[in-house]
Symmetry: C2
């Protein structure tokens, strides 16, 4: 958190979607661009599982954000035209209330006493922030990965509060293969003796489990096609010390190791578990008893569904399903299938493919306008 | 091991492909059907990573084998016509020498003092068994998954010893995504404190790591398509005791748990590590400096390459590559792409799809003959 981070504390008990409540949760967020007088130019970004609210640099915080070069003057999320808001998801650990924050009722960290988190809670808490900023109707809600489902939750819970929706590499509900991956990631963390049933010392977290979960994440976030091109059967030049028979030898192993090392410690383990579980639990069908009924509740004017052909976590047929469902209630729904080779992660790394599409949909000025 | 298991001990030091040797290794194997006088009706099966030599039941061992209903009278591997041999891979733990067996030089288990294992060693040790049985030229070598690569190693090392080759859901060399999965599986086992750097008590092995590795295995052995049809978002009726927030709730989680429980303890952890690593290391290109040169060394009369469209571990384009490579030196090469939904594991579970193809290639009599 830096000077760019703003905080808002919601008053009173916040009722959780699956039962229980938390007392006066704080939400961290950042904004770029100005809200106009009519307050109808706001774009709300819901993040994937791990990012903070720091989507882009600004005068107050010049470090690059996780979606740098997407937000700014003459960029697809044009700060001359729009007021961009990114909120750190409820349940996360970058300023918003979650398992790693202190329960005001006990003065101790919530840990796994935090009630079950749902993406509906992520959506509802963000909605309350937006309302407190005086915004009645968002120009557009954008969600990437898990954030796409959080965005959909907002659209279905408060249909009048959202005019446009952009879903990026997400879905109306996760499929069992993705659930299996995430379930195993959680088990890797919970199997680390240092997890201590969720009651670990924050200074001595289950790093091993988190590193292993991160590696499994990489396996599902990228694509076999990309790795075949990028690594093939290339070996590392330095195979590491000693003659330990299972040491790193292939470049792809070294790549995973480097990513796991970068990640370690940056994210609270319990927060990860809660957000991961919330992703699995989400289904639009919960809203009205079926997917069809869920879609029928939306009141969108425009929608854009983007996915990549190589995404194995939220495969392309889920993008079709989502776009077709929304199109049933919103004629102006675009479906864009990108052939990015980077799989699920493409929206973070293949910006050249995503920028023109988002720019086109948001009618931005500047170089990315076709 | 039962009365059906035969043993053969190779004389003297067995030189390993990547350096070192082991003293007089024993190989466990089973046979079905009779070797004819010309000794030209033998079919050798190389297994995947985990099976034993018990591929099918027999008079001596009536328990079903891992490829039951593929081997027998009037079955594709017709015991009236062929003598079928299945060898427990060198490095495994079902009667053959490996990290779990005793090093005659020390009187102690090899553990990770076992030299680096290669599929060339699996192939060479099997070749020596076959030669000792008096067979100069195998009618056919069949290999499933890892076994397909062991089989290819035999074909390239001893081109005159193999007339026909059947590769099932395998490849000429693994790709980085598959390597990443196996590398992480090994790390899950090695990260279990009970692994003890490889020096665990056989009575108290790293079961947790093995269970986790098994779950990751399931994720790569089956297919997203199958799980979507089979489980969807179905929940288990019994969500388990207590209110632990990450307990099993989805049917797919319960399915993985049951499989992991079945597997535990049945396979020695170090043997698993060695065979898994050997799979990653294999490349036909090692034989002659390039894949092209490797293929050029083969002297096959007939070959059959089978794969499934839903295999994510050895994807279908690898089947094309393998079939095309073999066809360059062996005109009578068949490529069969099955649309089995069970992914890599289809050869174990979708027998109705595999039987007619193998039967056709081996010109078996009986019901599976088209």
């Amino acid at each position: 958190m830096t000077l760019a981070t703003k905080f808002m504390t919601l008053d009173g008990p916040f009722k959780m979607h699956r039962g229980g409540f938390i007392e006066s949760p704080t939400l961290a967020y950042e904004t770029w661009g100005e809200l106009n007088e009519a307050k109808d130019n706001a774009i709300l970004i819901f993040t994937g599982l791990s990012p903070s609210a720091h989507a882009a640099s600004s005068g107050e915080d010049q470090t690059p954000g996780w979606w740098e070069n997407m937000i700014g003057e003459d960029l697809p999320l044009d700060t001359d035209k729009y007021c961009i808001i990114c909120i750190n998801s409820l349940g996360s650990c970058f300023g918003s209330a979650g398992p790693a924050s202190v329960n005001p009722a006990t003065g101790e960290r919530y840990g796994i006493s935090f009630p079950t988190l749902s993406l509906e809670d992520v959506a509802e808490s963000a909605y309350q922030v937006v309302r407190r900023l005086g915004i009645e109707r968002l120009h557009t809600v954008i969600g990437c990965s898990m954030g796409g489902m959080s965005g959909l939750a907002l659209c279905v819970k408060h249909p009048d509060a959202v005019a446009g929706f952009i879903s990026i590499s997400s879905s109306a509900r996760p499929l069992p293969w993705a659930i299996a991956i995430r379930s195993l990631q959680r088990e890797l963390i919970r199997s680390d003796p240092k997890w201590q049933g969720g009651d670990y010392d924050p200074g001595d977290p289950p790093i091993t489990g988190q590193r292993l979960a991160r590696k499994l994440g990489m396996i599902s976030y990228r694509s076999p096609e990309e790795w075949e091109k990028r690594f093939g059967r290339e070996r590392v030049t330095d195979v590491g010390p000693g003659d330990e028979p299972f040491r790193i030898e292939f470049s792809v192993e070294s790549y995973m190791e480097n990513h796991a090392n970068k990640f370690s410690g940056a994210f609270d383990a319990n927060c990860y578990l809660y957000l991961s579980r919330a992703s699995d639990l989400f289904s639009l069908a919960e809203h009205g008893g079926s997917l069809e009924n869920g879609f029928r509740r939306l009141k969108l004017e425009r929608a854009l569904v983007i996915g990549t052909m190589t995404d194995i976590l939220f495969p392309i047929h889920q993008q079709h399903q989502l776009a077709e469902g929304i199109r049933g209630v919103c004629e102006d729904t675009w479906l864009v299938e990108l052939d990015s080779i980077q799989g699920h992660d493409a929206f973070l790394v293949d910006m050249d493919a995503f920028r023109p599409v988002i720019c086109d949909f948001l009618e931005c000025a500047g170089q990315f306008n076709k």
